[in-house]
């Protein structure tokens, strides 16, 4: 398939886990781990899918997403949001910011794979 996924997340161990799972499934995974310049990185690398953590150093995932949705190039980019806080408020905020899918940590590997396939396939 060779579809490109960009993963923005700051916990090194979680990066390692998701990269492993997705690349085994045939994705090419690139990663980025801070919030400041996340928007620029997305614009430059134009991935097929973005996996975005909420708590990032420098800028929160919600803000990054809002900014992306305002630019034409990333208007329709599928985005999977990850959060460790799992409260209702977070889910609502994610929807408002324009997330395609929302997932609470910890998740099972198959869940991630399903979600990713679904988002890019559709």
């Amino acid at each position: 398939m060779g579809k490109r996924v960009l993963l923005i997340e700051d916990e090194p161990n979680i990066i390692e886990a998701i990269s492993f799972i997705l690349s085994r499934d045939g994705w090419s995974v690139s990663t980025h781990s801070n919030g400041h310049d996340a928007v620029d990185v997305v614009k430059e690398s134009t991935p097929d899918l973005l996996i975005l953590d909420v708590m990032l150093p420098g800028k929160s995932g919600f803000d990054i997403l809002k900014e992306l949705r305002e630019t034409t190039s990333a208007e329709t980019l599928p985005v999977l949001m990850l959060t460790a806080r799992g409260q209702k408020a977070d889910r609502e905020m994610a929807e408002r910011a324009g997330a395609s899918r929302f997932m609470t940590k910890p998740f099972s590997n198959s869940e991630v794979l399903d979600a990713v396939r679904e988002l890019v396939g559709s």
């Binding site: 700051d10 390692e16 886990a17 150093p57 460790a84 609470t104 910890p106 099972s108 590997n109």
Partner: protein, 896 residues
């Protein structure tokens, strides 16, 4: 015959004795049992610096030349003292309530805290005092000469200039050591005051001894002596009324205006009630001092050979009659008169020069205000020391240049007339609300010009500084401007002429300029405070700067008052306002108190300017002006009641607002707490779940990968455990169920242990720790492990969050009131004021920083310190982030 060596030895022994006395007094005062140092008696004796060498030796010469006229010099001050209720009481009250540091400070403070005026007064005081210091040096060298003259062998060794130089250097040293030992807020010097009190006794005793010897030893008894007096060339009462009256006036004025008199009378005054005793005791001292002057003069004229210098009769009479011991005592009396004058005069002048000239220049050169760096106190002390040296050096220079000749002899009265020019401005300032700065400036300028032109310049002899043609024909050929015959009125005594014209023109110009001009709000406010000092010595002085930044003020105050002093002041004021922590609101009250504290160290004008720089904007509020305008006591009382009420309300509102803010923050934090716990638990769990699934589901993993992934699972499990440990620790601490493991140890060991665990536990060791281990030898009994835990946390925080490069952490340990204080101060950008309020809460992290911890560290620290009976708090205004750990030593001992 006494050899010169013995003389020098006696001088040295005497000076050493003074050092010891002063040192002992300082020590006693420091240890708190210095009550006896401050008594009406000591105060009275310290006033005796009025009697300088000029009066000790000179009075006899004066009497030998002009009969009883010398008494005027003592009668004037006696009248001022006896009439203490009129002027002195008010001066002392103002001096104490306004924290006045010198006469220049008083005048500048009264006239709207004008530094220009202070500079003017300071310069004039220096001009007026320098010749007087020279006179003291001359008297010491002359008395040395007398002894060496009586000893031919040693005489050749003596060199006048070097004697004066040695004396000047010795006095400079003494004044620097005891006058600038610490930058006292009250500007009081126990050591100096007690030393001059001792000197007062020495000179009185010496003069009395010589007098008794002369009357009963040489004169043959009281009635005999009186007869000899009547038979002498000064045997008839001949007094010019104009000189008699104007000299009494002049000495009274000088007594009030001399910088050194102001220093001992007002600045060093400890209690207003001392005046009551001094009001009669000091006239008594003066009376006794002048009692034997005429007999000594008359017998000197009788016994000693024609042409002997009558200024030295006090010394030469005992010498000529072979009383070596008495002569030595008399020499010591003269020596102490000279030294005490020079010490206090240079101390008073140096305060003025330093506060009004050096410090303003330094402050403006370095940007001033809150921007200054370093401890200003060191600069102030250094500038005081340099000023002392400069003042004494000026005196020495004057002595050298004037050649120590007769030009100096008349300088006493000239100097008096010079400083007397302050009188109209001083009295106008404390009795007349209409007196203005413009008036003061104009009056002082005119007075000093007339004094210089009519008295000072001609005193050097015509043709020296003022040409003969000006003397004869007047300035610019204008006949009415002749130095000794203004407006063509001839035949007046030059001194009377100069005093009359300078003081009356001074007063007139001061009065008229004040009437015509209009004072600034600050002048009116200060005027009301000075003139009505008894009614409202505690009225607000009027900063209305709510915009002032307390933290900036604290930074500035620390540099001037010293860190400990400033922190105590701020904490006390914050408590008084009902605000927790170290930063009180910059209310007008607080700013006024702060300004007074600062003015005790750097003078009113500078303190005012520095606070103005930080507070900015208008310094006098409408309310203050109304207070000035309100004349009736009823209105005053009414408005002050309203004021108190509205302040009370404002304080309550402030407390409520604070409480509300805290509650809101707490509720937000409670929500945040759960979500934080969730986040902190879920993050490691995510990794654990993902990798355990990978290990379970993948068959084609290499051995290396397996090891790697399982060790990730292992690490994250440990991270979870640690988080749960912290949570449990905190919960246990908060519930008070913790068992303390109390041990005895030394702070330095605990810190050693804490630093090594905090820094080696991490790969990132870029932090430099600065300590002063000598201060850390504090024995304590407490839970050392828990204490170390707190230290490790604070050091770890500095390591994680300090954003300076290179990062440094300074650890200061000190003891204060039975408490051990340990400050951890880094050089980073510190913590913002909003964050300071929450950093000790659970999961509170500054900004969006993510540095591995769960945000429980400081919350745990706070709980631990509370269990140990101490506290940990944020210390604002230190440059970087700063935390203070306080542990009571006494309390920790009782747990043993």
């Amino acid at each position: 015959m006494a050899t010169l060596n013995i003389l020098v030895a006696v001088c040295l022994i005497y000076v050493t004795f003074l050092f010891v006395v002063a040192f002992a007094a300082e020590r006693a005062a420091k240890q708190g049992h210095g009550g006896w140092l401050r008594s009406p008696l000591v105060y009275t004796l310290s006033l005796s610096i009025y009697c300088t060498a000029w009066t000790f030796y000179g009075a006899v010469g004066y009497a030998a030349r002009s009969g009883l006229e010398y008494l005027t010099i003592y009668i004037g001050p006696s009248l001022v003292m006896v009439g203490w209720w009129w002027i002195l009481r008010k001066l002392v009250r103002i001096g104490r309530s306004q924290r006045v540091t010198s006469i220049a400070d008083l005048i500048s403070s009264r006239y709207g805290k004008s530094n220009l005026l202070a500079v003017g007064v300071t310069l004039l005081a220096v001009i007026g005092t320098t010749p007087y210091i020279a006179l003291q040096l001359q008297s010491v060298t002359l008395s040395f000469d007398v002894f060496s003259g009586s000893n031919e062998v040693a005489g050749s060794i003596v060199d006048r200039d070097s004697t004066a130089l040695w004396v000047a250097m010795g006095l400079t040293l003494f004044t620097i050591v005891f006058g600038t030992r610490n930058l006292d807020v009250n500007e009081r010097h126990h050591g100096v005051v007690i030393a001059i009190a001792v000197e007062a006794i020495v000179k009185l005793f010496a003069l009395l001894a010589v007098g008794v010897f002369v009357v009963w030893g040489l004169g043959g008894g009281l009635s005999e002596t009186l007869q000899r007096i009547d038979a002498s060339e000064i045997g008839m009462w001949e007094m010019r009324g104009d000189r008699w009256a104007s000299l009494i006036f002049l000495s009274a004025a000088a007594f009030l205006c001399l910088p050194r008199m102001f220093q001992v009378m007002v600045v060093e005054n400890d209690h207003e009630s001392y005046l009551r005793t001094a009001s009669w005791a000091f006239p008594a001292y003066l009376m006794v001092m002048s009692l034997f002057v005429v007999p000594i003069a008359v017998l000197g004229l009788d016994i000693l050979p024609e042409g002997s210098n009558p200024d030295l009769f006090v010394l030469t009479l005992p010498l000529a009659t072979g009383r070596e011991g008495l002569a030595m005592l008399s020499f010591l009396g003269g020596f102490s008169s000279a030294t005490s004058m020079v010490i206090v005069a240079s101390l008073a002048l140096s305060t003025m020069v330093s506060n009004h000239i050096v410090m303003p220049i330094w402050l403006s050169a370095t940007g001033g205000g809150a921007k200054i760096s370093g401890d200003v106190r060191n600069v102030v002390i250094l500038s005081r020391r340099l000023s002392i040296a400069a003042v004494v050096a000026l005196g020495y220079l004057y002595f050298r240049l004037s050649g120590g000749g007769t030009a100096l002899a008349s300088i006493g009265l000239i100097s008096f007339a010079g400083v007397a020019q302050f009188l109209p401005v001083l009295l106008g300032g404390i009795f007349w609300r209409g007196a203005t700065r413009t008036g003061a400036f104009a009056g002082l300028s005119v007075g000093f010009l007339v004094w210089a032109f009519a008295l000072l310049l001609p005193s050097f002899g015509s043709g020296v500084l003022i040409s003969q043609s000006v003397m004869d024909n007047g300035l610019f050929g204008l006949a009415w401007l002749r130095p000794q015959a203004f407006f063509g009125i001839e035949g007046m005594d030059p001194l009377v002429h100069a005093v009359m014209w300078s003081i009356s023109l001074n007063t007139l110009v001061f009065f008229v300029s004040s009437l015509v001009g209009f004072p600034s709000p600050l002048e009116r406010l200060q005027g009301a405070q000075f003139v009505n000092v008894y009614e409202h010595s505690r009225r607000p002085q009027g900063w209305s700067g709510s915009a002032a930044q307390s933290e900036d003020l604290m930074i500035m105050a620390q540099r001037i008052l010293g860190a400990r002093e400033a922190q105590n002041l701020f904490e006390r004021e914050a408590q008084r306002q009902g605000v927790s922590g170290y930063l009180p609101d910059p209310s007008p009250d607080f700013l006024q108190i702060l300004e007074r504290e600062l003015s005790g160290s750097v003078g009113a004008a500078t303190a005012h300017a520095m606070i103005g720089q930080i507070v900015g904007g208008a310094s006098v509020s409408v309310r203050d002006l109304m207070a000035v305008a309100d004349e009736t006591a009823q209105m005053m009382e009414y408005s002050s009641k309203l004021e108190a009420k509205s302040e009370e309300q404002a304080r309550t509102a402030r407390q409520l607002r604070q409480a509300n803010e805290k509650l809101t923050q707490l509720s937000v934090q409670k929500d945040a707490f759960l979500s934080q716990v969730s986040h902190e638990l879920r993050t490691p769990m995510t990794s654990i779940r993902a990798f355990s699934e990978i290990l379970r589901d993948s068959e084609k993993l290499s051995g290396q990968e397996k090891v790697k992934y399982s060790s990730i699972i292992h690490d994250e499990a440990i991270r979870l455990t640690r988080l749960l440990d912290d949570l449990l620790d905190l919960s246990v601490l908060e519930n008070g169920q913790v068992n303390l493991n109390t041990q005895t140890g030394v702070l330095v060991d605990v810190l050693d242990h804490a630093i090594s665990s905090a820094l080696t536990g991490s790969s990132d060791t870029r932090l430099t720790v600065r300590r002063r281990k000598s201060h850390e030898v504090v024995h304590m009994t407490t839970d050392l492990d828990r204490l170390a835990q707190v230290f490790i946390n604070l050091i770890g925080n500095a390591q994680k969050y300090c954003d300076a490069d290179p990062a440094e952490l300074t650890i200061n340990a000190s003891l204060s009131q039975g408490q051990m204080l340990v400050d951890f101060i880094d050089n980073g950008s510190g913590i913002s004021k909003e964050d300071q309020a929450v950093i000790f809460e659970k999961f509170a992290r500054v900004g969006e920083m993510k540095a591995g911890g769960a945000g429980l560290g400081l919350a745990i620290c706070r709980e631990i310190m509370a269990r140990l009976g101490g506290s940990v708090s944020y210390l604002p205004g230190q440059g970087g982030a700063a935390f203070r750990v306080i542990l009571p030593l006494a309390a920790s001992k009782t747990t043993l």
